[in-house]
Subunit: 345 residues, 4 copies
């Protein structure tokens, strides 16, 4: 019997609509590099969903690639990007941001989140330092919605960060690799339209949210980055058969699918949290989205490991460990029931 795969949310294929569309269009010739009609349709749907009819929308392939391409496009050569210390760009991109010549300027986050006050203080301190011209000028704020810990920024929090950014004339970038799980969470009050209004650039995650791969970058002001296409190419991030990205986002934004595709994950994450509660497992922290971080006895962890894949986070003490489950749009009830039985056992 195969293990229940809950180690991450990129361990399944794509929504069946996507696969069907790929099959249907497989032998149709199309022009390359995203100049096809399916891409145009997908971009138009995204503009509509975000309420920004003029926006530049570009499709890239994966998260690290998107982060580094966007950051390189928006920063001047001598600027760095402010991020939570736990931010993906600071920890898990093998130095892709530095490869592009930019420093990540870390702020101590709280379960993945940073506050507008912290950002403001950072910027104030920076320009108060007599040596600031010898230092890396902050040129952007990067946050994730949801964060690495599955936590969410409220509309109020996001608005406050946006205000600070614009007061200091630096862009705000929201990494939405798992955005569908934010949009599907009852705890969320930030819509796609809010993102388009508050950010200078954000991306809508496909890879973890129902696509085989793909991230849709949205730049509400279409004149902001004059040659973004060339920058994408320069980063090796341009897909020859661009319509494959078009197909995926066209399907994800048909009939509001993207707004709901994360609901399954949220519901099943809730089930697991109930089971953890019943089983007396302390949560490491509470997340309103599809990631569940909890503390487990090492012996129990070994037993669990025979039946389910999880992600190791950190050692809690000699006998306990913090681990993570991530549900997804494709996680099944059966799989979750099986895991819950083991947890409660």
């Amino acid at each position: 019997m195969q293990k229940v795969m809950l180690a991450s949310d990129y361990e399944e294929g794509a929504h069946p609509n996507i696969i069907r569309r790929m099959e249907e269009t497989n032998m149709v010739s199309m022009p390359g590099y995203g100049t096809d009609e399916i891409c145009s349709s997908a971009k138009e749907r995204i503009r509509k969903a975000c309420g920004c009819p003029e926006a530049e929308v570009e499709f890239l392939i994966g998260g690290t690639q998107t982060n580094t391409t966007v950051i390189d496009a928006f920063l001047a050569s001598y600027q760095g990007v402010i991020a939570a210390d736990s931010g993906h760009v600071n920890v898990h991109e093998a130095g892709a941001i530095e490869f592009g010549g930019h420093k990540v300027l870390p702020i101590k986050g709280s379960y993945g989140k940073i506050t507008s006050d912290q950002v403001e203080q950072y910027l104030k301190d920076f320009y108060a330092d007599g040596n600031w011209e010898h230092m890396v000028m902050p040129g952007m704020v990067y946050i994730s919605q949801p964060t690495e810990f599955g936590t969410l920024y409220s509309k109020e929090e996001l608005t406050a960060i946006s205000r600070v950014c614009h007061a200091y004339k630096i862009p705000l970038f929201v990494d939405g690799a798992r955005l569908a799980y934010a949009l599907a969470s009852p705890a969320n009050d930030v819509t796609l339209q809010d993102l388009a209004q508050l950010c200078d650039v954000f991306y809508i995650g496909g890879t973890k949210c129902g696509a085989l791969f793909g991230e849709a970058v949205v730049i509400p002001d279409p004149h902001r980055i004059p040659h973004f296409f060339t920058i994408i190419k320069q980063h090796g991030a341009l897909l020859a058969k661009g319509w494959l990205l078009g197909i995926q986002f066209d399907e994800l934004f048909k009939d509001n699918l993207y707004l709901h595709i994360g609901e399954n994950a949220i519901r099943l994450a809730g089930r697991i949290k109930e089971a953890l509660k019943e089983g007396g497992y302390p949560l490491f922290m509470d997340s309103p989205t599809n990631q569940i971080f909890f503390v487990i006895d090492n012996k129990k962890m070994a037993e669990l490991g025979e039946h389910a894949a999880y992600a190791y986070m950190e050692k809690k003490d000699d006998d306990h460990t913090v681990i993570r489950f991530a549900t997804s749009w494709a996680t099944t009830e059966e799989a979750v029931e099986r895991v819950c039985r083991i947890l409660k056992n």
Copy 2:
């Protein structure tokens, strides 16, 4: 009626076997980043086909990305890469190589090819120059098989270049973005095994040769690049759902499919060449693979353009233009017949 799409060889989907396998495996959970069993199987098939059982094989997504990742992995920080002036890395990668900090050192090619003598002369002259320590040290030779012009290196030519490289202790890298069309050409005498013996690294193109996307990098000596995985990640070139690449190369290397998948293109390119001959169109140059470069009267070109997509190459004179057709594994007889009728008309 849709135009016949012969502008390039990446304008079709994937071989039906690939689509079928994607469909079958779509709802099977798999571990990410190429650690799955399908990738292992695909790598094993490639190692066997290349006769290098120890080789490191890694799957990347597209050509520019692969070129820049491989070049950055093999070069020291102060080295450059020798290439034909028409080479993809020198012309059509939006500066991706320079983005990685390396200079392309161009040699004047003849229809895309450079000779071992030219390479040797370049290296000899370089070290004879009293100022060489102030210059960019050549650290690799990059060639394509087939080249941008569809021409082929013979085994003898490749062996000679390989000898020069190894005499100067620099690696030889073969870009095989269109490799299937070399392997399927009657004019070709370079096998996959030859590449594995003569090169330090090469890649087997998927995007243009039957896959949706994907290039398989082969490094015959598996100890050559210690942390290639991290380098791939740093370049934003690591696909989360790595098994999608595994599926494609596993299918392409089942039953020698890759060795034959280009034959259709070669055969149909032959038909077009016959039609061109009959119609009295001068060939710009003769290519033994799937690309056909020829001279056309501008009036005729306008007529052709209503029925077929082609690639513009250069102005020949005020009344004539050089254009290119590229057939592919998926080009149909009907499409080619339609084009031939127009040409001969």
Copy 3:
């Protein structure tokens, strides 16, 4: 009356011997780029003083330039450099390290110093993380002697860090921009020979220690970096009239001048510390070298500011500030007396 300049230790010209030698040799023609005999002599003196007769010695112009050139030379393209969070490379080089593509991996320092235990823990944790291949691999340890806070590593501490580095096969780099002030401190027990034995690369600061400019990089194993000359050129760090650097280090290493040139600064820093004690100013921290960090009442600071230049460090509270004095090889007794009178007043 001119202000007493104690804001930093690069605010004076050069030792008179250097100026005299420059004058004497001014109209003598010499070959460029450090290929002259004065450079040879200077390098030989440094090798002797460091007890490493085979070492590669190269002269660069300034500190940031030297740090970035050395770090780029020693790191693989995907590696980062471990440093104290307060380290010059992390804070005051305007992103020069990231410009070269490398991440600075900060460790929380204590008054500028990091411990061998911290480094070991960092490395242990790194390789224990299941995701380390997605992260920036630590490829070097960078420390300063003295540190940004004027503190010193003892021989025991340095030996322990060196052992950890070598256990993990990564180089240890010591930034000696102010090395003369370490060597002249009674609290110091680390000699030039110790540095040559314990480090893989270090530099002997000229700019702040008696030269007009210049830093001497010492690489005890001369085969370690094959084309360091080219790397220097690539970084724009090669001085055409290289003999100017040769002259300075030849003079600084004649008759052990470099070993004693910092003594004046240490002695006068002691005087200032006494005056601070008498005046009841709390030290921010105690430094055994030429930098004095102390807390001062804002009103007094304003008065002091009319007579002396100091460096602002940070706000202590609404009424107090932390400031720094730096004495140098050229600071005069008179200047220090003048400042002491104001402080005690």
Copy 4:
């Protein structure tokens, strides 16, 4: 007897006025990083000499460093710089431009010069190419005055290039590493004021023109590059004791010294050319400045080499070689007479 040093024009010290001023100010404390009054004075003199009272003037240390810093400051991250194939940035900077992420886009020069027609054609062809968004966008034109071959652009030629640049909205950058030898040549009709009017940025060479080191970058529009200081620091190009650069340019621009300092070199180059003519040595090409390229019999070259240092250029045929002499502001009559005697012998 020491050889006559005519291999290059950076083999002598500095103009005596500079050395005297260094001596006089050696023990005067000054604030760092070019914030001193001598720098202010020097910048003011340069602004006056160039007729651009608002210009930003910054002092850097050497040519390669200046080229890479200026190019990185002016180019967008995806742009390249057009230059003659023989240009210093293309050949002799060890890849410093590529290290900054930019491609050099070479145009075939004629003895170091490129024409406005060539530049215009390049730009026209670029944007006519259907694939230009996949290519490196030209973002600057770089030329040298005088060129690597000592040739000069006339005011008419420079104006024409400037017009093309501005029509295409890209900046024109003039490398003036040897500018004093242009200004002193009777063949020259381009003044400092012309440069300030026609270029977006240029630099006035110190290293080869009477200074120990130093290049003065002039940006006529002071708002053009918002944080040039930080960019200089990031490139490791900021001299701590900035007043050393101030002293040199203050002296060079006192009483129009810079306008005349090259005259000695031009006069003595004339003498050598006469001797070559008398001796029957064919000139490789005629240069109106301080460099003399000529063909010499290999046997004679060996004899010459015992008495004089020259620069090797290229092999002419089995028996002849092209070599170069470069006179300088400091070359003596005696030295030239000695060389002439040998040549005519």
